[in-house]
Subunit: 344 residues, 2 copies
Amino acid sequence: MAPKDVDPVPILRAVTLTDVAKAAGVSVATASKALNGRDQVKAETRDRVHRVAEKLSFQPNALARGLLAGRSGTVGLLTNDLEGRFSIPVLMGAEDAVGADRMSVFLCDARGDSIREQYHVQALLSRRVDGLIVVGSSTDARPSLGELPVPVVYAYAPSENPDDLSLISDNVGGGRLAAEHLIRSGRTRIAHITGDPTYAAARDRATGVTAALEDAGLPLVGDRVMFGEWNEGWGRGATRMLFANHPEIDAIVAGSDQIARGVLDSLHELDVGVPRDVAVISFDNWAILATNSRPQLTSVDLRLEQLGRLAAQRLLEAIGGTRHSGVEALACRVVTRESTMPVG
Amino acid sequence: MAPKDVDPVPILRAVTLTDVAKAAGVSVATASKALNGRDQVKAETRDRVHRVAEKLSFQPNALARGLLAGRSGTVGLLTNDLEGRFSIPVLMGAEDAVGADRMSVFLCDARGDSIREQYHVQALLSRRVDGLIVVGSSTDARPSLGELPVPVVYAYAPSENPDDLSLISDNVGGGRLAAEHLIRSGRTRIAHITGDPTYAAARDRATGVTAALEDAGLPLVGDRVMFGEWNEGWGRGATRMLFANHPEIDAIVAGSDQIARGVLDSLHELDVGVPRDVAVISFDNWAILATNSRPQLTSVDLRLEQLGRLAAQRLLEAIGGTRHSGVEALACRVVTRESTMPVG
DNA sequence: CTGAAAGCGCTAACAG
DNA sequence: CTGTTAGCGCTTTCAG
């Protein structure tokens, strides 16, 4: 409990450099130099100014600074899917990297509405952000914001314009990793149950999976990728269908952790042992799902936080003058858990 | 594909009011008045200025405005748990409400580290935010930030200082709602399996549940609340223990959707029908869990987005001069699904 | 080494 | 109705 011996509502004007200068008995110019470590100030004066600033808990007004400097030290983070779970890690990584450079982040959620998006972009520009990170809501390409007076980096969803810089997860590579992981674990009769084929993520992962199988001279059990929906129900249903026709299967690549939960559920009901009889690997590595299932799920991690961090880094580089363009794909990594343990 | 017929890197100085004024053949003062709808401008002039501003895509410099006005039109959103799923909805609600008032949001994640938190507060103050929303990572009370030159609202986790304004979900009331829902559905032999008792959320919900049972003259099956962990495993284990000793049970209040998933899992294995033999209600209403289980889960929704919206509203009121203090609890609501359908 | 002066972009008096 | 002037808080010449 904090004591309540302070003024009721401190409508005190924030302390300014002028206040500090006055209290230290110097001019604002000198105070400014002292506080900014300019070397044309006597050491004794510098210390005195610092002490006074400290005592008054002086905080330089970033607005005034920004106005003068022509740059605000802020970046805009424009998301379209705050509630979805994919934006958040990207956002965290970006916030972290940006903060490490003493810049602050404006957060805007356009909720997938391009009108709202346009509005936010204007608002951010009027706040003179030094750059913009646009986080998409799916891995499908999205319209470019076009030419803006500040650099823009697209993360998760690439821009449709190849002149923009986009950072994405390498879903094709992820598909490869998944299949190769199973193959290395000794599995040879592999099927792929995944989500909605209108999503690039589903198609890309499938491409990777089939390519890896082909390279290894292995068939895709069932002959074709089982596209469906991104939920447990589809995982359950697809698994039942699969087993009815292909009881010889010994591994399943699930397109998401959610689908995998459904797969595990059906395998349990069919009395198929995991990983003994069938190994299961999935995508997203969403801890809450992957580590609470029985057995725990091996999953391909998209490294979204790293993606966000990288996006911020590229943006800071661009702000610094080094602009890149094109699509940069970040490699995924497999997080191994029980569901793909090699047998015996 | 956008055409690439623009200058390579438009390092164009952003267009200022002076540019507009010049192009419109008026003084900056007149231009300012025209654009801000001050009524001391001839209609014809006003229109001309507007047209020119439009053509040059003029964006008023919010930094300059803020500097002059003494308020920046921004608020800080300080979270401690961006990756956790509870902050996000609060954040969304707050962002939405703040944006509706044409203010922008600075996002900072302190990751539960008070040093980092202090740093961010300083940074936000130096950016002259007009107010601050602090989103906690659990429902336990947290230390106050103390006296700050701008109003602060605590959301989700209340401040330890009752002189601060805190907005929380009414977990005790939520516990009551859960039990009452079961009782109204005709259940009379109710148990409560919940999470870690060191969490206020677990204790508060338990308080509500037991109070409602007492009011109804019903026993708590097993005599005491089963505290444990916030995960599926505990839900599974606790359910097995419960049934070994109390096969007469006809309803379970689970402390979270995750725990409920474990409960359902065990009930399934015990061949107990849900909701036929036992009804299950839980907390959080986390769609991904509650709607993907079999049967779908009835769950107490904490209305976190509304909580965020309310926090923003209160903050805006405080910025406007109307400060409140104390703890304001937002009522929960039950989202009914299959798991508590009345029998017959 | 220190201070006076100018100016970042904008708005609000106050004159004309 | 319009323009001139001043100043928000800060940094940066440029003289002392």
